[in-house]
Structure formats: structure tokens, C-alpha cells
């Protein structure tokens, strides 16, 4: 296991480096002169020169890259054009809000997917199963940027149960964003739990347990469900990464002050250091989460030998 962790960690290094390189080169993809484009239309030549210097664009490319890597290693992600403050500061301030939202969505997904998935598996092929499968397909196809506004119309504007946007109202303010973000995940998980549990229910050990006098609910919940959860947990961990990117849209819908909203705001204001840093942090978190979920495989199911 230790060997696997080390090897898997070492594999992560070139990929991470590749991503860092990709993000570094983004600014050089700006068509024309990046400095002129960043300084905006009608900028004076001295403004453009200042931008060029601030971004280090006047240096040779290899030197820019080395400086970028060196700064990253020291945790220095650059200075914001807009506030002239360290972009790290802004990111650290926004990060908790995004994590909170991701966890909220995950809880919603679990609360919805477990009962639905289990019922669907037990009554496989019946009309209940068909209705639930249809729900799952609709859930996957429903864009969050539509579901969110629909929730706002129903529960924030008409019923006035929750605030329309923002994060100031405590628990009440996280309900609608979590529902919006959790729906697609709930649909995916429902499908996974259904397939996984239905397959376990056909296994001989379940039949044996029932033959030995174990009640059917006990056979399902104590025996089959435990084994059915293995693939589900992995998918859940993997999906946590995509929740982080889903947050970009959900945060925009609900004006939720997280990392995703910061990214979009920085793009609109052409604050490139902030854009680069936000993308980097989201991407690195995504890689870390996937790394951890990979390791969980072996912990959850000792039968799986990680080699």
C-alpha cells in the first residue's frame, strides 16, 4: 500500500507540472500583444510597458517560466491588477465558501440518492424503478443554470423561504445553491446505487443469508448494501472534484462569494494574475481530490490490490 501511495504520488508530479505549464502559457495565448490587450483599448504606451513589466512579459520566455515556478514554490501566486494585493489572500478568503457549497451539494446528493437508489434496486423492473430511472435521466440533462433560477422563482421569490442570493443568511442561504449543485450528482449516484445494489442482490451470499432465516430487509441493508457501496464511494469521491467546477456556475447564479465567482469576476475585469491563480488552485484541488479517492479504493475494499 505504501509503495502504491508513493508511486501514485510520483505519477502526479509530471501531470501537475503539465498543468502548471498549461496555465503559465495561457497568458501567451492572448492574440496579438498580451500586454496591450490586458492594458485595454486606448491605453497609453507607458501603461502597456508597465503591464508588460508587471507581468514579466519583457523577460525571455524561459526566464518567465523559471520565475513563475520559483514563485509558485514559495506560495506566491502574483499580485492582483485590480487590488494590487496578493492574489493568494483573495483566494484564501473565498476558498471556504466554495468548499462549504461542495459539501452542501454532496449532502443533498446523498440524501436524495440513497433512498431512491435502494428502492429502485429492490423493485427493479417495476413502474417505481422506471419512474426513478426517468428522474435520474432528467436530472443529468437538467442544466444547473436553469434549475437554479427555477428554484429561486419557486422558493425565494414566491414562497420567500430562502434568500435569492448571497451568503449572509447562514444556513438558509446555502440550501438553494446546494440543491442546484447536488441534483446532477444525485442523479448519477441514484443510478450507481441502483445498478450496484441490484447486482449484489443476485449474489449467492444474499440468497444463503435469506435461506438461513435472515429477514429480507436485514439481508439487503446489512449484507448486500455494504458491498454495493464500494463503487459508489469511489464515484462520490471522484465527483467531488467536478463539484468544484460546478461551483463556478452555481456561484454565479446565487452570487455566492466563492472561488468560481472570483474567477469569473477576474475574467471580466481582465485581472489575469487572479485568473491564472484561481484556475491553478481549482485544478490542483481537483487533482488532490482524485488522488485521495484513488487511495480510498484500497481502503474501502481490501479485495482490490493496489499495484
Amino acid at each position: 500500500m505504501t509503495q502504491y501511495i508513493i508511486r501514485r504520488f510520483l505519477q502526479m508530479i509530471p501531470i501537475t507540472l503539465g498543468i502548471i505549464t498549461l496555465i503559465f502559457s495561457l497568458i501567451h495565448l492572448i492574440p496579438g500583444d498580451p500586454a496591450a490587450s490586458i492594458a485595454g483599448e486606448g491605453a497609453r504606451p507607458e501603461d502597456i510597458a508597465q503591464v508588460r513589466k508587471a507581468l514579466g512579459l519583457d523577460q525571455p520566455l524561459w526566464k518567465q517560466y523559471v520565475t513563475y515556478l520559483g514563485n509558485l514554490a514559495r506560495g506566491d501566486l502574483g499580485r492582483s491588477f485590480r487590488t494590487n494585493e496578493s492574489v493568494t489572500k483573495e483566494i484564501l478568503a473565498r476558498y471556504p465558501a466554495t468548499l462549504q457549497l461542495a459539501f452542501g451539494a454532496m449532502i443533498v446528493a446523498l440524501l436524495v440518492a440513497f433512498p431512491l437508489g435502494i428502492v429502485s434496486a429492490i423493485y427493479r423492473g417495476s413502474w417505481i424503478d422506471n419512474v426513478l430511472r426517468f428522474f435520474a435521466l432528467v436530472g443529468v440533462s437538467m442544466p444547473s443554470f436553469w434549475f437554479g433560477p427555477l428554484l429561486i422563482i419557486a422558493f425565494a421569490i414566491n414562497l420567500e423561504w430562502f434568500p435569492v442570493s448571497g451568503r449572509e443568511a447562514g444556513f438558509k442561504s446555502i440550501v438553494l445553491p446546494s440543491l442546484t449543485m447536488g441534483l446532477a450528482l444525485a442523479a448519477i449516484l441514484t443510478r450507481m446505487i441502483r445498478v450496484s445494489l441490484a447486482e449484489e442482490l443476485t449474489q449467492l451470499y444474499v440468497t444463503t443469508a435469506i435461506a438461513k432465516g435472515v429477514t429480507r430487509p436485514k439481508a439487503i441493508f446489512r449484507h448486500a448494501l455494504k458491498n454495493a457501496l464500494i463503487p459508489v464511494i469511489t464515484v462520490l469521491a471522484l465527483q467531488f472534484g467536478s463539484l468544484l467546477t460546478g461551483a463556478i456556475i452555481t456561484e454565479q447564479i446565487f452570487s455566492w462569494p466563492g472561488l468560481g465567482r472570483l474567477l469569473i469576476q477576474s475574467i471580466t475585469t481582465r485581472d489575469y494574475p487572479q485568473v491564472q491563480a484561481s484556475i491553478l488552485v481549482i485544478a490542483l484541488t481537483y487533482i488532490m481530490v482524485n488522488f485521495i479517492s484513488d487511495l480510498m479504493y484500497g481502503v474501502v475494499d481490501p479485495r482490490i490490490k493496489l499495484e
Binding site: 503539465g18 436553469w146 433560477p149 443510478r191 467546477t245 456556475i249 454565479q252 485544478a283
Partner: protein, 279 residues
Amino acid sequence: MNKTVKHLIRNFAFTSGLLLTVTLIVIAIAAPLLAPADPYQQDAARRLEAPSDQHPLGLDDLGRDVLSRILYGARVSLRVGFSVVILASVVGVTLGAIAGYFGGTIDVLVMRLCDILLAFPGILLAIALVAVLGPNLNNVILALATIGWVGYARLVRGQVLKVREMEYVMAAKALGAKSPRVIIRHVLPNVINPVIVMATLGLAGAILAEAALSFLGLGVQPPIPSWGAMLTAGRRYLGLANHLAIFPGAAIMLAVMGLNFLGDGLIDALDPKYRKQIG
């Protein structure tokens, strides 16, 4: 009748998906005939007007007919969808086939590039690319194709690795067929079914991604009617003019659902092995 076709027709998901998709394509083609008004025609005095007999889906924040804009929006969605799928599948299938067939350095290079792109959340890379290239229709297509080809490359490479060892491929080689001929005539026809399934689902994905980017203000720019961009405007008037958010969103959902159903049905008919993997 062909067994596969019979199987498809009996599949509810496939037929309803096909119906929705054909409707979408017809709407896109016939938009100028179907639209009751000019999608760009503004009427400031009647902005945000609720649905009526004259304007079944109401008017938007600039007083433009929402129904006409949704009908024309189908053109944008499909244009992005098809362009992305064609670009991504051509690049992906070519690179995947070459990597799988020849192996060695080229295989390592292509696969490492895939690893990096897959380690990066797709929509994030698309956002990053559009942010630096500038938001417009072509850049959206380019960004989505840049992240889209990876899936095809990996799929085709995996299949090619298997097919490469088959006796009929060896026989073709023994008879003196050159590599391109072997790949095109003998290897690719064997991997085409899963590629069709992936392309159908990819079309849905591209339409959804375009709408997402446009919703974030990073996609198709006004005044071009894009469903995603219409939703952004709709979000600003929630409570005042809900029809601005409800109808474009419903259009996106129906289009994406239709294609997902179609893809789901195709999996059953064309690629039962894939069905086993996803359940």
C-alpha cells in the same frame, strides 16, 4: 428489417430521443420559416411583456420576441454542437488510431497529453481558453474541441490495440497493405460504433457546455440568440419576468435530454459492452 434497426425502434429511450433530436434539427433549419418575428427586432416600449397570443413566449428585456430567439438559438446550439463533435472526433480518432497502431514514442506523447487534459476539469480549461482568446462563437468551438478530442483518442486507441492483434489485420499486412490502408480499411470500421455513441453524447455535452459558457458571459456574444446567454438575461429579471429564464432553459434541457436519450438507446443497440460498464 435489420435486427439492430428493429431493436432500436422498440427502444423507448431511442425513439423519444430521436423524435426530440429531429425536431431540434428541423427547428434549426426552418427557423426563418417558423419564427413569428425577427429575432433582432427590438420594441423598447414593450420590454419584458408576458406571453400573449401575439408573442406566445413573451418579449425579452429589449422587447424582442422570445419564441423567435429560441428558434434561432437552436441554430447556434447545433452549429457549436456539430462543429465541436466533428473537430474533436476527427482529431481524436486520428491521434488515437495512430497512437494505438504504431505505439512507441508517439503513443506515449499522445497519452501523456491526454492524461494532462483529463486531470484538468474540462469546463475549467474551456473557460480559461475562452478567457484568453476572447469570447465568441469560434473560440467557444475551439475551446470545447480542445477538451473534447481526448475521449475519442483514448477510446479509439484502446480498441485499436485490441484489433491490431486480430488475424485479419495480420493477414492484410502480410498481403502487403500499407499502414494507412490497414488502419482505414480494417481497423477503424471495428471501432466506429462506440465512436458514434460517444459523438451523440458529445453533441449533448457540447450544447450544454456552450450554454454554460454563454451563461457565464464567456460564450456567444449579444445580440446573437444563444440559449445560455438568454438565460443570463433572464436571471436578472427573476420575479419580474420569469418567462425569460423558464423558456430558454426548457429548450436547453429538451435538446440535451433528447440527445442523451438517443445516445442511451444507441448504446444498447450498437455497443452492448459499454452498457455493461455504465449500467
